[in-house]
């Protein structure tokens, strides 16, 4: 999975945002989760991945749903599903296009990518 760094980065941003909203300092949050403050800093900067159960625990502490802490699928996943090629092979114009897609548009594209063709001769 080549997207690991990107996913961690986006998760970290989301987490930092939620934590700030809740009014908790990194120190307080670290204590509640049972990690060091440095670990929280690293997680929020996307430098350290977390495990699934930690995600649930963090959500519980912040009073949000675990899904609230999950960033949407990176555009590159959609693009890969559609084009069958990794990001490095797309043109600048294609990249720009994927960036502009909304979540709803991405899901529509994924739907048609998977749907069976309309009957011949109709």
């Amino acid at each position: 999975m080549g997207n690991r760094d990107e996913i961690c980065k986006r998760f970290g941003k989301l987490l930092a945002g939620r934590r700030t909203e809740s009014g908790m300092s990194q120190q307080a949050f670290a204590k509640a989760v049972g990690l060091s403050r440095t670990s929280i800093t690293n997680i929020e900067r996307g430098r350290q991945p977390i495990s699934l159960h930690t995600l649930y625990f963090m959500a519980d502490i912040l009073g949000v749903e675990p899904s609230d802490l999950l960033p949407p699928a990176p555009k590159s996943t959609v693009a890969l599903a559609l084009t069958g090629e990794p990001e490095s092979k797309w043109t600048a114009q294609e990249k720009e296009q994927f960036e502009k897609l909304s979540a709803k548009e991405s899901s529509w594209l994924q739907k048609i990518a998977k749907s069976a063709p309309k009957k011949k001769g109709s």
Binding site: G84, T91, E94, E105, L109, K118, K120
Partner: protein, 165 residues
């Protein structure tokens, strides 16, 4: 480069289309393109997707059948005219692209695709045959021709103004 009118004329000949309504879906299939339908609540009309394995046209199935025909024609234009890009997503294909902030290249391809779609669904030669002996174009005629070509009355109205006589 041949004009859009010439390109469409050649295409219609190859597909042996001699009269309206132009079977856009059959033309797509003849070129190996699947038509795939999926509903979308909003202004997205369709898409052309080229992968390493296949090429297909996605159509918003919530739109009116005539509009879906226009979408297929518009995506066919991207297929024939704009080979460089593997993904074309068409939102608001009727908007005036000149007001948009997006790049000039995109504007141009969309304008071209709309011209091609209009020409494919309402070929100049077919239309001229139909309005040849008619003195005055009125609403009845526009509606009659819209049904005959399976396009919206608005599209036909605009087209008749452009084709001239």
């Amino acid at each position: 480069m041949p004009s859009i009118e010439q390109t469409v004329e050649t295409l219609l000949k190859k597909c042996r289309v001699t009269k309206p309504p132009v079977p856009v879906e059959r033309i797509a299939e003849q070129y190996g393109l699947d038509i795939r339908l999926a509903p979308y609540e909003g202004d997205l009309s369709g898409a052309l997707v080229r992968t390493d394995r296949e090429t297909y046209i996605g159509v918003n199935s919530q739109h009116h059948p005539n509009r879906q025909r226009f979408t297929v024609a518009h995506e066919l234009a991207h297929f024939f005219l704009h080979k460089g890009m593997r993904l074309h997503i068409d939102k608001n294909i009727w908007v005036n692209w000149r007001d948009d902030e997006s790049s000039k290249a995109v504007q141009w391809t969309e304008i071209q695709a709309n011209q091609f779609a209009a020409e494919l669904l309402m070929p100049t030669a077919f239309l001229k045959r139909d309005i040849n002996r008619i003195r005055r174009i009125d609403d009845h005629l526009v509606q009659f021709l819209a049904r005959k070509y399976r396009v919206s009355s608005q599209a036909m109205d605009i087209r008749l103004n452009n084709v001239g006589r």
